[in-house]
């Protein structure tokens, strides 16, 4: 058995055992001669895999007004937009302040102040301004992603080896060429380190927005909050699992882009 198959075997084993235990423990423990059903673990709270599976297909069917896949697309759309806008603005701001000491010094306290606000405290304000739709969700995601990407890029842009910049100048580089050929590639490594957590945080912003937004906002977050209203654990589990899978897929996607753009880094170099 190669190392890879061994790892995959144990991954699968953990999944099978967890799902098996979950299913087994949430079935009635004693079935005869009792007036009420007794469980090891009450499925009212955590449902059970078979019920989740059934609900998954039901929620995707035409029996519900807004099928699950549409909710997923709505969440995905807001997350991608918030992420993209957050990364673009955070990267640009990080580069500008990273290469401009005075501006960084002037704005420093304000950035720290805004960043130290818990994002969730801004949710009511954002809702007040942008309403319950997709814009509010995107803004919430952006607010979180921006600062993570900004701080990382800022560090990266400041940390560029001055001798590397000098060597570019000796070769005749203009300010813009230094930025394009030295500062940006050098800062990118730092920026990428922030992207995987940024996706999760974008998702947090969006889901919170959907909690508040209700039906008009839609999305997986709405499914969660609606399931709370009907005390439906199975639907909630469906929503959570869909979110988890979405998170994994997005993280893998970013990893691919990173491996491509940072292929010069030793950890991405295939060694002969």
């Amino acid at each position: 058995m190669t190392e890879r198959t061994r790892v995959n075997f144990w991954r699968l084993a953990i999944l099978v055992v967890t799902v098996g235990l979950w299913e087994g423990l949430t079935h009635p423990a004693v079935t005869k001669r009792v007036s009420r059903v007794v469980y090891f673990v009450d499925p009212f709270f955590i449902s059970r895999p078979s019920a989740i599976w059934t609900r998954f297909w039901y929620l995707n069917s035409s029996a519900v007004r807004v099928p699950l896949w549409q909710l997923l697309i709505s969440t995905l759309e807001s997350t991608a937009l918030g992420f993209a806008v957050g990364v673009a603005t955070g990267f640009a701001a990080g580069l500008i302040l990273g290469r401009n000491d005075r501006l960084a010094l002037i704005l420093g306290p304000y950035i720290v102040a805004v960043n130290s606000l818990p994002r969730i405290a801004l949710v009511p304000l954002v809702t007040m301004i942008f309403g319950f739709g997709i814009v509010a969700k995107v803004v919430l995601a952006w607010l979180i992603v921006f600062f993570i990407v900004f701080f990382n890029t800022f560090q990266g842009a400041r940390g560029v080896d001055p001798d590397v910049i000098h060597s570019a100048r000796f070769l005749g580089a203009s300010e813009r060429q230094v930025m394009r050929t030295v500062v940006i590639p050098s800062a990118l490594a730092w920026t990428f380190a922030s992207l995987t957590p940024s996706v999760s945080f974008a998702l947090i912003g969006v889901v919170i927005g959907e909690f508040i937004g209700g039906e008009s906002g839609g999305g997986i977050g709405y499914l969660i909050i609606a399931s709370l209203g009907t005390l439906n654990a199975a639907d909630m589990m469906v929503a959570l699992i869909v979110l988890a899978v979405m998170g994994i897929v997005l993280a893998i996607g970013i990893r691919q882009v990173e491996a491509r753009l940072l292929r010069w880094r030793p950890e991405y170099q295939a060694r002969a």
Binding site: D161, D163, V164, H166, S167, A168, R169, F170, L171, G172, A173, S174, Q177, T181, V182, P185, S186, L188, L262, R263, W264, R265, P266, Q269, R271
Partner: protein, 262 residues
């Protein structure tokens, strides 16, 4: 006598460390003539790299004057090339794209760039590594990339700060031979900083010996060895042995002083 390209006059540099002014170099003066290869040697901490960095325009002098081609030096100049001891090859660019940097900055047409880079790669024997990233190369190969990256834009004045200082003896000798060969073909005006006396004698026309901190010029010595030189064979000659022994006694005193202080 050919014209003077680099004039260093009464150059002084003091640094502020912990509220105290510390003199790194005091009243250093020397000239470098056109097509001349000058080595600046001295014990570590004697300020030889500081002198080079002042000539390069990286460090402003506290007092004194530097003239390049008769004009006061101000900042980084286009006719000056600089090779750092530290690895400053861009890790995010392949060998090919590193060597072509200066041509890219000058917006040369792609076809011409390709030709010149190919020639440069051939000159330092890096064929087959054009598409490799620096992380996969040895220190010697990276320094060859750094050297060609600087030489490809044809600098007339070449400043080198212990470029082979971090390499093992074998690699160092091979790169010295390569440098001599390339220099002999183009005859740039070179200021080469090193603490390795053998390297200084092997490569240069004149050796400027600096004292231990604060650095002053102790001796300017003409190396009377014929060119072209073979970096290995030259070390086996009596002339070389005499040059070495003369300079070694002068430099040895300074090394001893530097040790006593530091």
């Amino acid at each position: 006598m050919s014209r003077v390209r680099v004039e260093v006059r009464e150059l002084t540099k003091t640094f502020l460390t912990g509220g105290r002014e510390v003199a790194a170099v005091t009243a250093v003066s020397f000239d470098v003539r056109d097509k001349e290869f000058v080595a600046l040697v001295g014990p570590s901490g004697c300020g030889k790299s500081t002198v080079l960095n002042m000539i390069a325009g990286l460090v402003p002098p506290t007092a004194g004057e530097i003239r390049l081609d008769g004009r006061p030096a101000a900042g980084v100049l286009p006719q000056v090339g600089y090779v750092f001891q530290k690895d400053t090859v861009f890790p995010w660019r392949t060998v090919h794209r590193n060597i072509g940097l200066g041509l890219e900055y000058r917006r040369l047409p792609r076809a011409e760039r390709e030709n010149r880079v190919r020639e440069a790669v051939r000159l330092v024997g890096l064929e087959g590594f054009e598409e490799a990233f620096p992380a996969t190369l040895s220190g010697g190969m990276r320094q060859r990339v750094a050297l060609m990256r600087t030489l490809i834009v044809d600098p007339e004045i070449l400043l080198m700060d212990e470029p082979f200082g971090a390499l093992d003896t074998h690699t160092k000798l091979r790169l010295q031979a390569k440098l001599l060969e390339l220099w002999f073909a183009k005859r740039q005006t070179v200021v080469f900083v090193t603490h390795d006396l053998a390297e200084a004698i092997t490569l240069s026309d004149r050796v400027i010996v600096m004292t231990s901190r604060p650095g002053r010029v102790k001796l300017i010595h003409e190396v009377k060895l014929p060119r072209p030189r073979d970096v290995i064979r030259i070390r086996e000659t009596d002339e070389y042995a005499r040059e070495f022994s003369t300079l070694w006694h002068v430099l040895g005193e300074e090394f001893a002083k530097a040790e006593a202080v530091g």
